[in-house]
C-alpha cells in the first residue's frame, strides 16, 4: 500500500521528439496508473515546473539539438539527480556503456517490450524514492546538527571519533565536567538513543574527526 501511494504521487517524464511515441508512452504509463509528463526536447523539460516528488526520465538518445547522452551530462552538471531510462532506435555498445556509467537505469532499444519499460520505470521510481527519503533524513539530521553550538559540534566530532571525555577536555583545554555537559546536550539535541546512533549520524553528516 505504501508503494502504491508513492507511485501515485510520483511522475514519469518522457522526452522524445517523435509525437506518436510520446503519446504511446503517455498512454502506456497512464494505463498502469502512473502520472506522465511528456516533452519534445530536453530544453522543454528543463523549463517545465516540476513537482518535488519521486520521478524518472524516459529519454530518447536521438534528439534534435542536444542528444540524449549530452543531456544526461548537462543534468548531472545542473545537480539534477533524476534516474534516466534511455530509449534508442539503434544502440551500440559504446553508447550503452557511456550511458550506464553516467548512472542510467536502463538502456532500451526501440521497439521495446512494454513490460521492460514498465519494470525499468518502477525500478527508477523506487530508486528516486529511496534517494529522496535518504536526502530527507540527511536534511533533518543536518537541521538538528545546526542547532548545536560550535563547541557542541566540536565535542560531537571528538566523541564520535571514539575519544574519552578526559581526552576531549585535554584537546579543547576545558574541564572534563564541561565536556560531559556538552555531550549531554549533543545527545539530546541530535535525538540519539545511543553512542552508536550518534556515530551513524556523524557518518551521514560527515563530521567525524579522526584523531590528530
Amino acid at each position: 500500500m505504501m508503494k502504491q501511494r508513492s507511485e501515485a504521487q510520483s511522475v514519469v517524464f518522457v522526452v522524445d521528439d517523435d509525437a506518436s511515441m510520446r503519446e504511446a508512452l503517455k498512454s502506456l504509463f497512464r494505463s498502469v496508473g502512473l502520472h506522465v509528463e511528456a516533452f519534445a526536447s530536453g530544453l522543454e523539460f528543463l523549463q517545465s515546473q516540476r513537482a518535488d516528488v519521486a520521478s524518472c526520465l524516459v529519454l530518447d538518445v536521438r534528439l534534435p539539438g542536444l542528444s540524449g547522452l549530452d543531456f544526461q551530462t548537462e543534468l548531472a552538471k545542473a545537480n539534477v539527480h533524476i534516474p534516466i531510462i534511455f530509449i534508442t532506435g539503434h544502440g551500440d555498445i559504446p553508447m550503452t556503456v557511456k550511458a550506464m556509467k553516467a548512472g542510467a537505469i536502463e538502456f532500451l532499444t526501440k521497439p521495446f517490450r512494454d513490460q521492460d519499460m514498465l519494470d525499468a520505470v518502477r525500478l527508477a521510481l523506487e530508486r528516486d524514492c529511496t534517494r529522496r527519503q535518504n536526502d530527507k533524513a540527511t536534511s533533518d539530521l543536518k537541521a538538528r546538527f545546526d542547532t548545536l553550538t560550535p563547541r557542541e559540534q566540536e565535542v560531537m566530532a571528538f566523541v564520535t571519533a571514539g575519544l574519552m571525555n578526559k581526552q576531549i577536555a585535554a584537546e579543547l583545554g576545558v574541564r572534563e565536567i564541561t565536556v560531559k555537559v556538552h555531550r549531554g546536550n549533543v545527545t539530546r539535541k541530535m535525538g540519539a538513543r545511543s553512542l552508536a546512533d550518534l556515530v551513524r549520524m556523524a557518518d551521514l553528516l560527515g563530521v567525524r574527526r579522526s584523531k590528530a
Binding site: D18, S20, M21, E23, A24, L25, S27, L28, R30, S31, V32, R62, G89, H90, K110, P111, F112, R113, D114
Partner: protein, 621 residues
C-alpha cells in the same frame, strides 16, 4: 651525331674500321711480298735465259766447224739457234733482249755456215762472244739479277752474269791468239804482249770469281752453297791455273818456233768444259736459292695471312660477344622498362647474372622494380582500402539512416499497440484510450509507408538529372576505379565492348554504382579461387529490339540455386561483411531506368550478371 647512334651501330663502325685497317695492312703486306716474289721470278727467268746462253757459249767455244761432219754440225747449230730463239720468244718478253739476241743469232749463223772462211772464223768467234756477253749483261740487268737483294744470290749472279761470260770471253780470245800465233808459225812481240795482258786479265777474272764465291759463301748461313760449288770451282781454278802456267812457259821460251796449238787444245777444252760446268752448277744453285726464297716468301705471306685471319676472326668474335653482353642486355633492359611502363606490371624482372657493369645495372634495375612494385602495392592497398571504407561508410550511413527512419514509426506502432492492449486488459477498459492508440497506430503505419515512399522518391528524384550515357565509357571509368582491386587480387580483366553501342538515357552516377557493385562483387567472388584463372569479363552488345545488354561474368565460386533466388532481396548477403543492400539497390536503379537486372550461373564456373537498358537519347536535344 655520334652520341645519338645506337650502341650496336657504334660497335659495327668500330669493327668495320678495324677490318678496313686490317684489310689495308694485309693488302700492303701481300703487295710487298708479291713484288718480292715477282722480282725473284724475273730473276729465275733471267737465269733460265742464261742457261740457254751457256749452251751458246759452250757451242761457240768448243765446236770448231771443221771438227765435225757438216750435217751433224749444222744440226747441232740449228738446235742451239732454235733453243736461243725459243728462249727469246718464251722469256725475252720480260727482258729488252730481242735486238741483242738477233745480232748474236746472225753472227752465229754466219759462224756456223759452211761457207765461212777459215781465217775469218776466229774474228767471228770473238764477235759472237762479245755479242753473247752483251746479251748476258742485258739479261742480268733486265731480269733484276744485278739488283739481287741477298748476299749469296747477289754474288752468285755476279759470277753467273758477269764473271763467267767475261772469263769465257777472255779464254776464247786467248785461244784465238794462240791459234793465230800457231798458224803464223811465229810469235810476234805484239801478240806476246797481248797474251800476257790476257793472262793478267784472266787471272784477275778468276780472282774475282774466287772473291765473289767467298763473299757468297759468307752470305749463306747453312753452307749448302759452298758444299755444292766448292769442288767444281776448285777444279776450274786448277785447270785454268795449269793452262795459264803452260801458256806462260810457252810464250817465255818458245819464241822462235812459235806455239804448238795442239798442245794447248786439250788444256783449253778442259778449261772451257770446267768453266761451263761451274757456270751450270752456279746457275743450278742460283735457281735453287731463288726458288727457296720464293717459297720462303710465300710461306711468310701465308703465315701472315693466317695470323691476320685468326686475329681478325678473334676481334670479330670479341665484337660479337661485346654486342651480346652489352647491347643485348641493354636492349632487354629497355624492353622490360617499356613493358613495365605500358602494362604497369611491376613483377617483371630482367634475367641477367653477370658481375660486370651490366649485371650490376640489372640487379639495381630489378631492385628498383621491386621497390616500385612494393610502393605500388602499398598505394593500391591503401587506395582500395580507402575506397572500400568510403563505400562501406556511405552504405552504412545510408542504411542506418533508412533503418532509423523506418524503425521510428515501427517502434511507435509497437508502443501504441502495447498501450492499447493494456487499456483493454484493464478491469474497466478505457475505450477512448484504445481508440486513440489505434489511431496513432494507423498514422504510424502511414508514416512508415511515407518513409519508404520518400526513399523511392529519392531514387526517382535523380531521374531529372538523366543524360545520354555511353555504357562503354562507363565501363572504362569503373575499370579504372577497380584497377587497384584487380591488380591486388591478380584478376584478368577482359572487356568486349561493341564499338557502335548506342547510348542510354540514364543517371550516370547511379549506373556507375551498378557497374561498381557488379564488378566488385565479381572480383570478391574470385577471391578464394586459386586453382583456375581469375577472369572478369565485361561485355556490351545490342539487345534486340532496341536495348543494350551488359554482361558481367566472373570465374568465381558461383551462386547456389537457393541463393540465386534471394540475391536481389534486401539484407540478403553471402558475404561475411556484406549488408545485403548492393544488389537490391542495383536492381532498383536498373528498374528505375526501365531496364532489367538478373543473374545466372556461369559456365563452367562463376556467375553471370546481365542487365538490359533501353537505348535512346534525351529528347529535345
Amino acid at each position: 651525331m655520334f652520341k645519338n647512334l645506337r650502341t650496336s651501330t657504334k660497335l659495327f663502325i668500330l669493327c668495320s674500321m678495324f677490318i678496313i685497317l686490317v684489310g689495308v695492312t694485309t693488302y700492303g703486306l701481300v703487295a710487298e711480298k708479291q713484288i718480292a716474289i715477282t722480282f725473284a721470278r724475273k730473276e729465275l727467268v733471267g737465269n733460265q735465259y742464261l742457261t740457254v746462253l751457256r749452251g751458246v757459249y759452250a757451242a761457240i767455244l768448243t765446236r770448231r766447224p771443221r771438227d765435225e761432219p757438216a750435217a751433224q754440225q749444222s744440226e747441232s747449230a740449228d738446235r742451239i739457234l732454235k733453243a736461243l730463239s725459243r728462249a727469246e720468244s718464251d722469256l725475252g718478253g720480260l727482258l729488252q733482249t730481242a735486238e741483242l739476241e738477233r745480232a748474236l743469232a746472225a753472227t752465229l749463223r754466219e759462224l756456223w755456215s759452211s761457207k765461212v772462211e777459215d781465217e775469218n772464223t776466229d774474228t767471228l768467234i770473238l764477235d759472237a762472244l762479245a755479242k753473247a756477253r752483251n746479251l748476258a749483261l742485258r739479261i742480268g740487268d733486265d731480269s733484276n739479277l744485278t739488283l739481287d737483294p741477298d748476299l749469296d744470290t747477289y754474288y752468285l749472279q755476279n759470277i753467273v752474269v758477269v764473271m763467267l761470260p767475261t772469263f769465257l770471253d777472255q779464254i776464247g780470245e786467248m785461244q784465238a791468239l794462240v791459234r793465230a800465233a800457231a798458224a803464223a808459225g811465229m810469235t810476234a812481240g805484239e801478240d806476246r804482249v797481248r797474251l800476257l795482258v790476257l793472262d793478267g786479265l784472266l787471272r784477275s777474272t778468276a780472282d774475282g770469281i774466287r772473291s765473289n764465291l767467298e763473299a757468297g759463301y759468307r752470305g749463306q748461313a747453312d753452307g749448302s752453297l759452298k758444299q755444292a760449288l766448292h769442288r767444281v770451282y776448285a777444279t776450274m781454278n786448277e785447270t785454268t791455273d795449269s793452262y795459264l802456267a803452260r801458256m806462260r812457259t810457252s810464250v817465255a821460251d818458245g819464241a822462235s818456233d812459235g806455239l804448238d796449238a795442239s798442245a794447248f787444245a786439250s788444256g783449253y777444252a778442259s778449261v772451257v768444259g770446267n768453266a761451263i760446268d761451274a757456270w751450270s752448277t752456279a746457275q743450278t744453285e742460283l735457281d735453287r736459292l731463288l726458288r727457296q726464297r720464293i717459297s720462303g716468301l710465300r710461306g711468310k705471306l701465308f703465315y701472315s695471312l693466317m695470323l691476320i685471319g685468326v686475329l681478325g676472326s678473334l676481334s670479330i668474335l670479341v665484337a660479337v660477344m661485346t654486342h651480346r653482353h652489352i647491347v643485348r642486355p641493354l636492349e632487354r633492359l629497355e624492353g622490360i622498362a617499356r613493358t613495365v611502363r605500358e602494362t604497369k606490371n611491376y613483377n617483371l624482372r630482367i634475367d641477367h647474372h653477370n658481375n660486370d657493369e651490366i649485371g650490376r645495372l640489372a640487379v639495381a634495375f630489378n631492385g628498383m622494380l621491386s621497390e616500385l612494385a612494393a610502393a605500388r602495392e602499398r598505394e593500391m592497398s591503401e587506395h582500395s582500402e580507402a575506397a572500400r571504407v568510403s563505400r562501406l561508410t556511405t552504405m552504412g550511413a545510408m542504411t542506418a539512416s533508412i533503418a532509423h527512419e523506418i524503425n521510428q514509426p515501427l517502434a511507435a506502432i509497437v508502443a501504441n499497440g502495447n498501450a492499447g492492449l493494456r487499456w483493454l486488459a484493464n478491469a474497466s477498459p478505457d475505450l477512448d484510450e484504445v481508440c486513440a492508440s489505434l489511431k496513432r497506430i494507423v498514422s504510424d503505419g502511414h508514416r512508415a509507408s511515407q518513409v519508404i515512399g520518400s526513399i523511392r522518391a529519392m531514387f526517382k528524384k535523380d531521374s531529372q538529372e538523366r543524360a545520354d550515357v555511353s555504357l562503354n565509357d562507363l565501363v572504362h571509368e569503373v575499370t579504372a576505379l577497380v584497377q587497384a582491386e584487380i591488380q591486388s587480387r591478380r584478376v584478368t580483366l577482359k572487356t568486349e565492348l561493341l564499338q557502335e553501342l548506342p547510348p542510354v538515357v540514364a543517371d550516370r552516377v547511379q549506373l556507375r554504382q551498378v557497374f561498381l557493385n557488379l564488378m566488385v562483387n565479381a572480383i570478391e567472388a574470385m577471391g578464394s579461387v586459386t586453382h583456375r584463372a581469375r577472369l572478369l569479363r565485361v561485355k556490351s552488345e545490342i539487345h534486340e529490339p532496341d536495348g543494350v545488354l551488359i554482361t558481367v561474368q566472373d570465374s568465381g565460386i558461383g551462386i547456389g540455386p537457393t541463393e540465386m533466388e534471394r540475391i536481389f532481396d534486401a539484407f540478403f548477403t553471402t558475404k561475411s561483411d556484406g549488408m545485403g543492400m548492393g544488389l537490391a539497390i542495383c536492381r532498383s536503379i536498373i528498374e528505375a531506368h526501365g531496364g532489367r537486372l538478373w543473374a545466372s550461373p556461369g559456365t563452367p564456373h562463376g556467375s553471370v550478371f546481365y542487365f538490359v537498358l533501353p537505348s535512346g537519347r534525351v529528347s529535345g536535344k
